[in-house]
Symmetry: C2
């Protein structure tokens, strides 16, 4: 929150319903206006690949709506998700043309794109955007490192609880928690995608979700719609320290 005293002043970009975290009011200059003109939108269908690992990416983008994933795939088909992009998240690595992993839409997805060249020009002339991107990259790094703990040391049950807590917390922050303390949201991922996130098989994911359901930790209607009646109870299952992570 405002590590450089800027974070509260995002600019809502043109017709986008979200706030672009990479480009904010403070950065408003002629260059930014020029950038606006290179902006374009792109829609993707569920399952569609946006970029293949190794491809050139000639743009950077913000997620306007929907969910996308970053994932590594090994030749034999084993897959590991390494990033999850929700609305307002940024896609692209300034200064690096080659995508190191696959980017895939897991739902209907709209991106707001900027061409690489003018964006990098803006980067050179506008230090504030550089600082913002450093901030955002540090956040991604924190998330990746928390994820490493999940992958390396947590049990299947703890992994599932952690994922539900992460998505639930992020959604709750957006949509407001319900007055009675229940947290209600839709899982944006299939069981298979959850498995790829957590380094499990989809059968194990399903079994652990069933177990948490059976024990009343969560409730689920129709495969995706989740209710967490008692969030602290869920947090106990994650194996994390009880404070729930003050880190970000």
């Amino acid at each position: 929150m405002g590590k450089f005293g800027l974070a509260e002043t995002h600019l809502t970009c043109g017709d986008c319903p979200i706030r672009h975290r990479a480009v904010c009011a403070r950065c408003e200059t002629e260059e930014l206006a020029a950038l606006e003109e290179t902006k374009y939108y792109r829609d993707y269908e569920p399952g569609q690949t946006i970029v293949w690992g190794g491809d050139e990416m000639d743009f950077v983008a913000s997620v306007v709506s929907g969910v996308a994933t970053l994932s590594h795939t090994m030749e034999d088909g084993r897959r590991q998700m390494v990033g999850l992009l929700l609305p307002s998240d940024f896609l692209g690595r300034p200064g690096r043309r080659l995508a190191p992993y696959d980017v895939t839409a897991v739902s209907k997805l709209t991106l707001c794109c900027f061409r690489r060249a003018p964006f990098e020009d803006l980067l050179l002339s506008t230090p504030a955007i550089n600082r913002r991107l450093l901030e955002m990259t540090l956040d991604e790094l924190d998330a990746a490192r928390e994820w490493m703990l999940i992958l390396g040391r947590k049990t299947a049950r703890e992994k599932i609880a952690s994922l539900i807590a992460i998505v639930g917390r992020r959604d709750a922050a957006l949509h407001m928690m319900r007055a009675d303390g229940q947290v209600v949201f839709d899982l944006p991922l299939t069981r298979e995608a959850m498995a790829d996130y957590l380094g499990l098989t989809l059968e194990t994911v399903s079994r652990q979700i069933s177990a948490l359901k059976r024990e009343g930790v969560i409730r689920i209607e129709g495969n995706r719609h989740v209710t967490v009646p008692d969030f602290p109870r869920l947090m106990e299952e994650t194996g994390d320290d009880t404070d729930g992570g003050l880190l970000s």
Copy 2:
């Protein structure tokens, strides 16, 4: 390599035998000179904790010599390494005072430290350093994401091969490969630290190293000194695509 056209021009800092990747010749200004004056060195013994997770860190630093690790610890003692710092690596997160995980020396270690306040002042006034830090953070993020694939989807044997390949490649780049193609280096980690890196137990680490030794993929003298007679052969064991990773 010179993503912003700067990377080749690091400044060797004062008496430090290493190059500080965060602070380079291009950044040379009065501010940098001021920063130099706040510089100080600190030595640590193997096993010594440099920062505890949650502590305030009032400095940033470069590793001059030795090896340090970043790791998460759960209350019940499970531990996961999330970062490995070798000479010339940078420690510290500009704009963030609280350390999110433990930093521990695993060998004799010397840090070259800068106080936080003047360093962040420099950051505000010197865009080139900002760009450099963004570069370095993106490298860390790439490393973390490759690590996630290792943790989530690789077998114990592939994990060990990957770790030896990573350390070997990094050392080989530094010390030069031997003419006959053999790669020779010292593992900077105990079996336990390797286990914490890879999300395994130390017994499994030991067994897999023994297996690779038995099959002639590696040779080891006295617990730490490793010889890889045929690097491509080792790479086959990592499960990675044969190109060995053009990513960094």
